[in-house]
Symmetry: C2
Subunit: 351 residues, 2 copies
């Protein structure tokens, strides 16, 4: 089996304060109150799709023990540690050369660690179909989510729906990528059937991605190419600690996807959310008849509607008379914020 | 010196949840965030008025160690422990006979432990003047607070302002007592100069109160009269534990004040609040320019007005976009409630 999964788990999720902090980012938290953390849910979602010895996690060095603890099935040597934050391109380059050193025929799916998928069987069908496609073609494939609202927080993919690929009738060529749009543009996008949200889930085979890096990011490529002899040896971490910081801070979208020609999109619909904000969590959580999502065991509400109340640490919480608020409590921190004003959370926590 | 102070400290303050709980009622909490608990502020307010060996505290047995800890200057034998709750009449009867056994010439001021007084010099002047008056007359004196709003949560005293007493030109005969009025009646009361709030602060000499109990509450009197030989001995607590529960559950207002003839009121104005609810705390705490009272060291507010935010346990609290709410956090409990809906707190905590 040459199918590999890369879970990117280095983010901080500061808009989810106080549930997500740099000590315990949201991928390591039981955000949904279901008894599993987001990274555990991510791992579980790929069971039966990718053999467990082919699961890779790239994270910050400071979260190594969290990953080992929460994903004990992932082999220690498959947990790659970034010495510093350099966005997704260096992260993907590192893991790509690392996998190449071990499996030169690898097909790879790259996934964030903190997203939610509601329809797992459909998700698995799409991933399997996509992995088969990239095993047969030198294509870079992104998953495109059918937009359900004029979201200004996501990037959009414009697909050429006029002609599906020969090998997979569900996969189309990408016309262009669009950065996070303003409200008016987002409204226009969702009127058209050929705009999709960029979910940040990518599929490719190892030669495609390595060659794309060589062409579009020669400096990053050289750093990880040079280390080919030492991957999997005791020298790996110390050399990565030395060289990784030299990489540009750049996203894979900007570094590769927006530059390469042969980019494809696989439109899919499996109840996806990036859980980027408290509001998106509200959309993805079961609500009571008053529209409240109460995550925690000891929450009482009265005259309260359309609120998300997150208090999972056995706290007793009483909320009376609120409409449309986030109430989140964790450790020694409490947040009360109007839904829709979540962009203020980062500012306020920095005070 | 025959002047004595009785501090009643057996209440629970359930409308102040979660700051006030049966484990730590509000009189033992630093409600104002000033570094002192309400009972400590009460004790301090009488410094220089009553000698410290004449300070008595009546409380529930379960709070004995809290009283000893917070008021180390009060003599151990002056802390009287009620084995169960029986409202204020049995409490006052017990401490009265107990004081009588030791000082048959005592003059007594009885005070709740959980009220706030802003103008302490004026308070002390009133108490000293009142104690002198009751040392010279067989009168029952209540303090009457000038009403500042049509409060429906207090009892009202109707004074006969036509004629002050001969011995003290500030003290008047009481015409009648009125239970907590409805809103319309309260509005009418505050239009008239002769209605006052009943602050629950009483002054009398020992013979007056003991005789009043003998006349109006003979059963309660008999219980404490019978124990005269054992007050101050090692038998006291066990006999109190046996007999005290036999008392009727009745307030001193209902048991004595509304029945006796010679009742007087001393109208006074020293910035008093019973701190019965979160709303009353808001009225008695310094507010920022947005009308917020933030009690705690790590509270950030944004687009927030007219709120009381109480989080004294070194919590980080961020509140955005609230107007007119109580936010209170303590131990493992959090309350968010619209100001004015505080009567719901008791109901909701009982769920």
């Amino acid at each position: 089996m040459n199918d590999h999964l890369v879970i990117m788990a280095g983010g901080v999720g500061s808009r989810f304060w106080p549930m997500s902090t740099s000590i315990l980012p949201k991928q390591f938290a039981d955000v949904l109150g279901c008894g599993k953390t987001l990274i555990q849910l991510t791992y579980d979602r790929f069971r039966g799709v990718v053999p467990k010895e082919n699961v890779w996690v790239v994270t910050s060095a400071q979260y190594a023990s969290l990953v080992r603890q929460q994903l004990p099935e992932v082999q220690r040597q498959n947990i790659l540690l970034e010495p510093c934050r350099r966005n997704t391109a260096p992260c993907i380059a590192y893991v790509s050369w690392r996998i190449k050193s071990q499996d030169p025929k690898a097909n790879i799916v790259v996934s964030p660690s903190d997203h939610v998928v509601l329809d797992v069987p459909e998700f698995q069908r799409v991933i399997k179909s996509g992995l088969k496609f990239v095993s047969e073609t030198d294509s870079i494939v992104t998953l495109g989510m059918k937009p359900t609202r004029p979201e200004t927080g996501y990037g959009y993919i414009q697909a050429d729906l006029s002609c599906a690929t020969a090998r997979n009738k569900e996969i189309y060529r990408v016309d262009s990528f669009h950065e996070k749009p303003d409200a008016e543009t987002a409204e226009r996008f969702i009127q058209r059937s050929y705009y999709f949200w960029n979910a940040g889930i990518f599929l490719w085979n190892i030669n495609t991605i390595v060659n794309a890096f060589r062409i579009y990011q020669p400096e990053i490529s050289r750093i990880f190419e040079d280390l080919l002899p030492i991957y999997g040896t005791s020298q790996e971490q110390s050399l990565i600690n030395e060289r990784f910081p030299l990489c540009d801070n750049i996203s894979v979208d900007y570094a590769i996807l927006e530059k390469a020609d042969e980019i494809y999109v696989f439109p899919a619909d499996f109840g996806w959310s990036d859980l980027g904000t408290w509001g998106s969590l509200l959309l993805n959580t079961e609500r009571d008849i008053h529209g409240n999502a109460c995550i925690g065991n000891n929450i009482i509400t009265a005259e309260t509607t359309n609120c998300i109340i997150h208090a999972t640490q056995e706290r007793k919480v009483i909320v009376q008379g609120l409409d449309g608020y986030i109430v989140a409590e964790k450790d020694n921190s409490l947040l009360i914020c109007r839904l829709g004003e979540e962009q203020r959370i980062r500012q306020l926590t920095e005070q």
